[in-house]
């Protein structure tokens, strides 16, 4: 049995919840986590890259010199790949790097990633942080809380229950801090940040769902 410590916004431990890692996944599936992480990283790629092939480079319509008699190698276009200012022989085209791991594996990977963080003791919870920024976004509130936990400047994923717009706004200017709704949890997002903090609501919902 592993425990998840619950902190208040001042960084003081106020309670804990017992969580059986086996309920998340029976082991940390490293190979699966690797696949899920690679898929997630690939999905991040925009794929907006492009170079021009010879037909796309402007100009080059006129044959540079006559076919025979000049003493020079025959050339048909000033935009051939071997010419300076010519097109690329093999171009880079815009493309979609996204690929799916099977849906069942995806779900399993998410739970496995949570088990990993739980075993590491890197999974904690916070009570009232979403309420503390509930009315008005305040980066300093979140920053202070993270510093108190010794996580200032460290990679952290905050998991909220339901959309918490102000939590997003309050962490937007903190490097290496992500916010994600619990229902959008995925292995890639968990693995990307070494520390994982659930809001109380998200933790309760997670425990209830197991």
């Amino acid at each position: 049995m592993a425990t998840v410590t619950i902190y208040n916004t001042e960084g003081a431990a106020t309670g804990s919840v017992d969580l059986d890692p086996a309920k998340l996944d029976r082991e940390v599936r490293k190979a699966l986590l690797k696949e899920a992480y690679i898929a997630s990283q690939d999905a991040q790629r925009q794929g907006t890259h492009k170079t021009k092939k010879r037909s796309e480079v402007a100009g080059g319509g006129k044959k540079p010199w006559r076919q025979k008699g000049s003493g020079r190698a025959r050339q048909g276009s000033t935009r051939s790949p071997q010419w300076g200012g010519g097109g690329h022989a093999k171009t880079v085209e815009p493309r979609d790097y996204n690929w799916d791991i099977p849906a069942g594996q995806k779900r399993l990977a998410t739970r496995s990633a949570l088990r990993l963080r739980l075993e590491e003791g890197a999974l904690v919870a916070v009570d009232g942080l979403d309420a503390a920024v509930g009315t008005e976004p305040r980066t300093r509130v979140v920053a202070k809380f993270l510093t108190k936990l010794g996580l200032g400047g460290k990679g952290t994923l905050l998991v909220s229950e339901g959309h918490q717009g102000n939590l997003h706004l309050s962490t937007r200017n903190l490097a290496k801090v992500d916010v994600l709704e619990r229902r959008n949890l995925n292995a890639g997002a968990v693995l990307r940040r070494p520390h994982l903090i659930f809001t109380k609501g998200a933790l309760d919902a997670l425990v209830a769902s197991l």
Binding site: V28, K30, A31, L33, K34, Y37, L116, L191, R192, P194
Partner: protein
């Protein structure tokens, strides 16, 4: 466990072949294609799974027989009754009102059917006058039980070919 530990886990993921990238790679000069001839060229020598080395393949040796209805079938847009009642506000349900509600197009063959799950028991919550191409028996009974009427019309002339597969 760091991310590096996870990323260095063997998974059976294979490295991409990089053809034509130098002698040491083993796929250098001819890039694994041998030398010269059709097989070494782009697009060469792929004759498909039914090719039998030049011998008349089995599928050409046997007589053609059988029939497949796929080109002749009438295909309907199947509209669940509960969705239609939700989206069409008036008490007239015909191609015009369905089209206006975004449920059909003027040239599609439409059949009203029951729903799935909670809507498996077709029920009409109000009396509606229905004029469409086909109505399932259960839905017809439901509409009449609610005090409505059902008229089935001829299929659109090119219904068989223009209705989309769904």
């Amino acid at each position: 466990m760091s991310l590096q530990d996870i990323l260095s886990t063997p998974t059976g993921r294979k490295d991409r072949k990089r053809v034509g990238r130098g002698l040491g790679s083993g796929l250098g000069k001819t890039g694994g294609r041998g030398s010269k001839g059709e097989g070494s060229r782009t697009g060469g020598k792929n004759r498909g799974p039914l090719f039998e080395g030049g011998q008349k393949p089995l599928w050409m040796r046997l007589p053609k027989r059988g029939f497949n209805n796929v080109n002749f079938a009438t295909r309907y847009i199947a509209l669940p009754l509960h969705r239609v009642l939700e989206r069409v506000t008036g008490d007239v349900i015909n191609l015009e009102t369905l089209t206006a509600a975004g449920l059909a197009k003027h040239d599609t063959a439409v059949k009203l059917v029951g729903g799935r799950g909670d809507h498996a028991e077709a029920k009409a919550n109000r009396a509606v006058n229905v004029t469409v191409h086909r109505v399932s028996a259960k839905v017809k009974a439901a509409i009449i039980a609610a005090g409505g009427t059902v008229t089935e019309t001829d299929l659109p002339s090119d219904g068989a070919s223009s209705a989309p597969t769904n």
